[in-house]
Amino acid sequence: MELTFFFPVNVGGSVTKLVDKICNDWNAEHPEAIIKPVYTGNYDDTVVKIQSAIQGKNPPDLFISLCTQRFSMYIQDAVTPLDEFIKADGAEGQAYIDDFLSGFMEDSYVEGHIISIPFQRSTEIMYYNKDTFREVGLDPDNPPRTWTELAEYAQKLTKVGPDGNVERYGVGIALNSGSAQWQFTGYCLQNSKNGENLMSDDGKSIYFDTPENVEALQFWCDLQNKYKCMQPGIVQWTDLVGQFLSGKVAMIYHTTGNLTNINNNATFDFGTCFLPGNKRQAAPTGGGNFYISKGISKERQQKAWEFIKFATSPERAAQWSIDTGYVVTRKSALELPEMKEYYEKLPQARVAYEQIPISKPELTSYDSTRMWRILNDAIQAAITGEKTPEKALRTAQAEADEVLKKYR
């Protein structure tokens, strides 16, 4: 039989080749169940394609999609819960699940069922240009750890040219729709009273307009307008890496999935570090998980399950992390020699892994995409000065509550 497998790519680099390799390796060993990988664009494109396929009653057998899609998948009854496959594997199955980093596995549960398996998982880290640190007299091995330090360092690193125009900004945070909410999750976690996230675990409540979140949004506005160390306006996610590599911004908030790309292309000494915190340091996780569709035969589901285990074996998880810069998802993978060697050659890669214990899922709830849009619109309104951070988040909270009413 032939199984279709939809997968997105949301980072730079030639990731499609890597996915093809995994599939080819499986196909060589399992000619009775050939996996056909289909590249479906970035995460957003993939969500649309999967939706269309589901509604056209012709879903792919398995696919990778955002872990934040889990409530949407569940409510449409589009995916098979994996609990029975895990149980069928007995003790081995439980060990398999337990081996995944809990910060990532958290994202797989809906109403107590496991409905996805972590695959290409990332967390947000800060990349910084060590050469510029040296240039302005900062210690390149001591990146900022708090918001106050961030503002301070970023102001020092901002270089204004003789014509009054800024040649280099201290810090860069992407604020376009589709990215801003990821950054904001980090800031929320760093400032909330007891580590609360933007949403409740069951996906039915949203917490946008807490005073701590207002404070965080105000800090972003201040970075642009008061401290003038961040480029004004809406900076695009896809532009930030280019700006970093060409020296136009000294520190950027970006996904660890770009580590290999940056490592291969940076002409300067760069470092990575935890995101600066306020009440605590924290970061958002992100990325995609494996899902198996419902509505396909038990046989196909079983083969899909075995492929998933194959693709997420410790060796392959390690290799995937090395090739892309995504964070390794399994604890046992760390013991492998190739992993140890990788961390030795590229110490910057350890940071993402070490940050996992303080990382939490990004904004996920029922009707996730609408929530993202509401939050991102509010952030944009505040950044462009259209509304105060408080008013923007208050409006967003009202809209979000309205949407979630039907799920409670």
Partner: protein
């Protein structure tokens, strides 16, 4: 008597023939135009979101939702504003171009082509390049401003400049398109009229106002409807350049429909908005035809 029967039979034959010839097109239009319109209208009275097995009838709930939504009116205002910002300049520039190239000088073909070539480029490509030009601080426009000692504009990040900036890109393309229609209209005008006007001592402005424009009325009608409906139909540039940012200052009606239908997967709301859009397009087309019925002189 026999003659009459023959006549009737021939008429019936030719009507059957007509139906047979029309059938494929009728089928196509029914499936791709009429059925979707009916379905959208029907869905607009339901709630039908992701995860619902079938649509749920809710009467005029969606309509009252939108008519009382601040965001909806903001988007309608944006759409109207953008329409005016693109139709008026492209009309004026298109007509000017047409008058400029309405002669047979050597190399006029090259000039015509250079005015027209933006039209053959896909809007996505144009939008991507102009987005690059509008990039904050590193894009062409901001670089020019900064070189002259002014502050960079970041045109796409400011809610006051984002629509004019996108309109400018769009006019760059649309003017050439409208030029073609005006050129054809101008070339169909009787040269004798202009000769007579010249002999009578009419100035350029007078000739333009009293002869050219009125005679171009059918072309103007056609062009205006096309330009207005085009400006409402466009969405590529929003998806590429801003996705509606900042805070929906650049969201237009069709993008809103796309967002509701294909990003949030709320078919009922998308259908309701579609009905609004159809309504607007209908009014635009009808309004123009009715008002111009009295003023057009066809040769």
């Amino acid at each position: 008597m026999r003659l009459q029967m023959l006549k009737q039979k021939r008429m019936m034959n030719s009507s059957v023939q007509a139906w047979i010839l029309l059938a494929p097109t009728l089928l196509f239009i029914s499936v791709f135009t009429i059925f979707p319109i009916i379905r959208s209208f029907a869905l607009s009275f339901t709630a039908y979101e992701l995860g619902m097995k079938r649509p749920l009838f809710i009467g005029a709930g969606n309509y009252s939702y939108f008519l009382t939504s601040g965001l909806f009116w903001k988007i309608m205002k944006n759409t109207l504003f953008f329409s005016v910002l693109t139709v008026v300049p492209s009309y004026a520039i298109g007509l000017s171009f047409a008058m400029l190239v309405n002669n047979n000088r050597k190399g006029i073909g090259i000039l015509r082509t250079s005015y027209f070539y933006p039209v053959v480029m896909p809007l996505i490509a144009i939008a991507s390049i102009w987005m690059f030009m509008y990039m904050p601080e590193t894009g062409m426009f901001d670089q020019i401003l900064m070189n002259h000692g002014k502050r960079p504009l970041a045109a796409l990040s400011d809610k006051n400049t984002v629509l004019p900036a996108m309109a400018m890109m769009y006019v760059w393309r649309e003017a050439g398109y409208l030029m073609i229609f005006f050129l054809s209209g101008l070339q169909n005008l009787d040269r004798e009229l202009f000769e007579a006007a010249r002999i009578d001592g009419s100035t350029f402005l007078d000739t333009f106002r009293r002869i050219t424009l009125p005679l171009l009325a059918p072309t103007t009608l056609f062009v205006t409807i096309m330009a207005i409906t085009d400006s409402i139909k466009l969405i590529d540039h929003i998806v590429i350049m801003t996705e509606g940012a900042p805070n929906n200052a650049s969201t237009l009606l069709l993008y809103y429909i796309y967002q509701q239908g294909f990003i949030f997967f709320d078919q009922a709301k998308a259908s309701t908005l579609t009905v609004f859009m159809l309504f607007i397009m209908l009014i635009v087309s009808m309004g123009k035809f009715i008002s111009s019925d009295r003023k057009i002189y066809y040769n």
